[in-house]
Symmetry: C2
Subunit: 234 residues, 2 copies
Amino acid sequence: MPRAAVVLLSGGIDSATALAIARSDGYVCYALSVDYRQRHRFELRAAKKIAASMGVKQHRIIKLDPSVFGGSALTEEIAVPKFRPERQRSRTIPVTYVPGRNMVLLALALAWAETLGAGHIFIGVNALDYSGYPDCRPEFIGAFQGTANLGTRAGVEGRPIQIHAPLIRLTKADIIRKGSSLGVPFGRTHSCYDPDPRGRACGACDSCLIRKKGFIEAGIPDPTVYGGSERARG
Amino acid sequence: MPRAAVVLLSGGIDSATALAIARSDGYVCYALSVDYRQRHRFELRAAKKIAASMGVKQHRIIKLDPSVFGGSALTEEIAVPKFRPERQRSRTIPVTYVPGRNMVLLALALAWAETLGAGHIFIGVNALDYSGYPDCRPEFIGAFQGTANLGTRAGVEGRPIQIHAPLIRLTKADIIRKGSSLGVPFGRTHSCYDPDPRGRACGACDSCLIRKKGFIEAGIPDPTVYGGSERARG
């Protein structure tokens, strides 16, 4: 078959851009979303819209017991920090770090890739804007690829699996420029860690701040409706 | 807290023995079972009995979408081979190989370990009797540990996570002897790939053959009731 790739698709800007890059590089794309978050399932709704509009071969949503990922503001009722200055964001591992997340996501992608006979996995991790996340670093991605090729039939039989992290050294502005040039429907993506009940972005969490700044620096209009921000202020 | 370990517990002889070793080495044990198999959920019932009788601190069963693991006789309706000669078993990757399984299981254990603050993970893999499984080899386990310590807060902050595979170089007979000396309730374990509807072992699949031979070589009576074997013959 033509080159096939499993693309991890969260519904945010980064994974949507990673999908656009995979497609533009000629891969037949199988999008994989993992449903584990108790607090913001709007991401998955976004992932469905993106997968549908970007012509993936198949979009699989795997349900995963949310208890797998404890200890994070994204999965537990810990307050999401608001309006944190950038310096503070980049110095520490954020409370939104989810223990083991990218290892689990890549492992699930690997299982599906090997079953499909796909030799490629795309993940939209980024080491610059998320410098505090240990599992967004190039050394982690490289080590995962090596481990995957030791632990799979594909790897052992000489059909190594390649992990692509095409955004890993890009800034958010670079990613937005790249995605925009490839036609990513940014209006359908979701970034906010703390949306209101209708799914509108708060405009104040780390993820919203990074997104807003990225659009400004890219010189591209931000299609996001920041409707939830009154809660952050009050 | 005292040394804490997450122990992957399938309900078979190997993982029960790995748990007994972890307990005997003084670890406070958190048992983790993953519910993904469509065909033989008797393993999970066994895992519950073992966890209860071996004094684990907590036993967590994670449900995982069975579609994650396609392409194996353990999860799909492919015939389980019966009465295969040993030479044939050990030369090829068996049809019971599940793509990406140990990577996914270890990733889930890692996520829980980091959340708990546990620095140890035990897995009952074995490179001798399952020589065809790429993800049962020491080089895979070692690579996973390295990747885990690059991709977690614990690893980055100097509290490395250690992956223990205490059975990796033992024969099945060695494992049975070791488990027996540590009081593993073998009568409660389940190995069969193709049990009858009441959960009785078939006595003819690779896993039953390895189990039977192990007890014989260990010189220890096999408490298993092989009730399902008429199906294998007929």
